[in-house]
């Protein structure tokens, strides 16, 4: 029972980070980012590809990435278990590198939007993300591809049975920090500008704002945050496998959570994420029972796909505004004006 709750909490934390970042880009700025998975993958690349390589250089280990990473893990694990400060430092370093790499990727991959309309942009972003996924999956030189590379356990100073709890707490802490940050950003003049851009680009242009700069800012912030989730997930599983960063898991499901909760509303998105994660984790845990109970001749994961696909469709059809509707902007100035009129 305890494990189920922890699994739900962990995935809720991870997915909240991703959905809040997607909400900034899609919900507020109106950028149809069908390539969310790319930023999450970049978080994993930062852990498995960038920092691991730096550590390999630092310790002067020879051999290919996969075997050298395994050696790095054993050296680092010993250091961390003797001194927890190393572990915390490494965790912060991983998150920092992931955020930087994610931010740069986000800023670069939105550039085609300068010339493209909404639908072409969505197709292009999906294509870029999908192709990068395939490359990282098949080319074992980047992050070990489908073999995967091992990463140090930043919490190796904590005994094994407590590790999951500690990691869940860290993830939830990051998620709360991201939530506070997002509330701040979206309630600032910048956040209102993003909403204005979503509603009418020409008006924003007419007030002298550069649309392209706004888009780049939104996606680089969003992608930097989404990369945190990728890094945390890789550190949790102490293994980076490109295969686990598929489009369904990290683009489609986040879109489902955002639309279910209510695009353009951080609170709604968090509720949507919780609802989704609850259903998904329970489905995953009881998949064997479901299979036996319903006498299915196939894996329950296929049922999960059908179910979530249908859920997405019915949300779009019957509740496109989500569980909680986006609230109108009430800044101090607007509130005063409204009161005066009333």
């Amino acid at each position: 029972m305890e494990e189920i709750i922890l699994t739900i909490a962990l995935w809720f934390g991870l997915y909240t980070i991703v959905t809040l970042s997607l909400n900034l880009e899609y919900g507020f700025a109106g950028i149809p980012n069908f390539g969310r998975a790319l930023a999450v993958l970049m978080g994993a690349v930062a852990v498995g590809g960038v920092v691991n390589r730096l550590l390999i250089l630092l310790f002067g280990i020879e051999g290919d990435l996969i075997t050298a990473s395994a050696q790095v893990r054993s050296i680092m694990n010993e250091m961390i278990s003797s001194n927890p400060a190393y572990g915390i430092g490494m965790l912060l370093l991983y998150l920092l590198v992931a955020a930087c790499l994610g931010g740069i990727t986000g800023a670069l991959f939105i550039l085609p939007s300068a010339k493209l309309s909404e639908d072409y942009l969505a197709i292009t972003l999906l294509a870029i993300s999908e192709v990068m996924f395939m490359v990282c999956n098949y080319d074992t030189g980047i992050i070990g591809g489908y073999y995967g590379v091992s990463t140090p356990d930043v919490l190796s100073f904590i005994p094994g049975e407590r590790r999951m709890l500690a990691f869940t707490l860290i993830t939830l802490f990051v998620a709360i920090a991201v939530y506070i940050l997002m509330e701040r950003i979206t309630n600032s003049p910048f956040g209102r500008l993003l909403r204005a851009m979503r509603e009418n680009e020409s008006v924003v242009k007419a007030t002298g704002k550069n649309i392209m700069i706004l888009r780049i800012k939104a996606t680089s912030i969003g992608s930097a945050i989404a990369a945190l989730a990728g890094a945390l997930y890789s550190l949790y599983s102490v293994n980076v496998i490109a295969t686990s960063f598929s489009r369904v898991e990290w683009t489609f499901y986040p879109f489902l959570m955002v639309l279910l909760g209510g695009a353009g509303n951080n609170k709604g998105v968090v509720i949507g994420t919780f609802t989704f994660v609850l259903v998904k984790v329970l489905l995953t845990i009881y998949k064997h029972e479901i299979r036996v109970l319903m006498n299915l001749p196939f894996e329950a994961v296929w049922l999960e796909y059908i179910l979530f696909g249908l859920l997405m469709y019915f949300v779009l059809l019957y509740r496109p505004e989500g569980l909680i509707k986006e609230r109108p902007i009430f800044s101090k100035v607007i509130l005063e004006k409204v009161k005066k009129r009333a």
Partner: protein, 306 residues
């Protein structure tokens, strides 16, 4: 199968898929992310006929054509039209086709479970190359795919240019509101375009296992190439889709192979990167695609300068 043969077969199939993608985008404005899975549907129709009744996949082409066509119509009527009637934006329509793609993926996985249970053969992974035959030194799929392309092209030509329905269809693709004023029922042409999209994709799907292994996820893997073909062609004309299909098909298979001879075998992994690069260059240089370029004006300018 040698490289050029493979490239021709692959391009032929991409053309079938990108024609379908383009025609539904023109008539209903839906960029269909499930087009790849429409093809896998055809593969499963062929597999079912083969496993249960031992029908050779080539003979199942007509069945797949009809089945895929009706499936396309159902998708439009039951899923997309209600959304369009509620004034859904193009992004919402795209998300709904992504949802459809996921439903189909789950459906294929579940169905292969049933199929495997009743035939005691693996159905989550299959290939038809062992059923193919050779004509001279060439594989049969080369001739079959060329024949299918020939039949489809001549059928489309006859339909679009020689029948009254074709005239109405072209009119409603060019200017739907004007066509409606002239008494054309634009809704019929929308339904027809989804029939065509589903059926052509399904036919491509019955032929695809002769070239590569099919898994339930195949649709998600080929969708980038299909979109690249349609966008290179401009997403606004059927001829563009044909040209785009051949450009992407050849650059993905033949060009990648040639590059791998120069740079080493690791390039083969990057075949989709090449179609992505072609796509991005095309979008930045000519967002309206090949057929959107004003060739006539360029020639006119050149001749007037002389």
């Amino acid at each position: 199968m040698n490289v050029i043969e493979g490239a021709i077969v692959y391009s032929n199939l991409l053309v079938l898929l990108s024609i379908g993608l383009t025609i539904t985008y023109i008539t209903t404005g839906v960029p269909n992310f499930a087009q790849g899975s429409f093809a896998v549907l055809g593969s499963y129709v062929a597999l079912t006929l083969l496993r249960f009744w031992a029908i050779h996949p080539y003979y199942s082409i007509p069945v797949a054509f009809v089945f895929g066509g009706f499936f396309g119509v159902l998708v439009y009527l039951l899923m997309l039209r209600p959304l369009i009637e509620r004034g859904a934006s193009v992004v919402i329509l795209m998300i709904s086709t992504l949802a459809l793609d996921l439903i189909l993926l789950g459906g294929f996985g579940a169905y292969s479970g049933f199929l495997a249970e009743s035939t005691h053969k693996l159905a989550t992974k299959f290939i038809f190359t062992q059923y193919d035959f050779d004509i001279w030194q060439f594989s049969g799929i080369l001739f079959v795919s060329l024949a299918v392309i020939f039949v489809v092209f001549s059928g489309l030509f006859l339909l679009l240019y020689k029948t009254k329905f074709g005239v109405a269809l072209r009119a409603s693709m060019e200017n739907p509101s004007l066509a409606e004023v002239m008494g054309v029922n634009v809704e019929y042409t929308r339904i027809f375009s989804w029939f065509l999209s589903g059926s052509l994709a399904s036919v491509a799907g019955t032929l695809l296992p002769f070239r590569q292994e099919i898994v339930p996820l195949t649709g998600a893997l080929i969708i980038v190439s299909i979109f690249a073909s349609s966008i290179v062609g401009g997403l606004s004309s059927i001829i563009g889709a044909v040209i785009g299909g051949y450009i992407i098909g050849f650059s993905e298979s033949y060009l990648t192979y040639q590059l791998s001879l120069v740079l080493g075998a690791y390039v083969l992994v990057y075949s989709k990167v090449i179609s992505l690069i072609v796509l991005v260059i095309m979008l930045l240089a000519a967002p309206r695609g090949i057929t959107g370029l004003k060739w006539g004006r360029a020639i006119w300018k050149k001749s007037s300068l002389q």
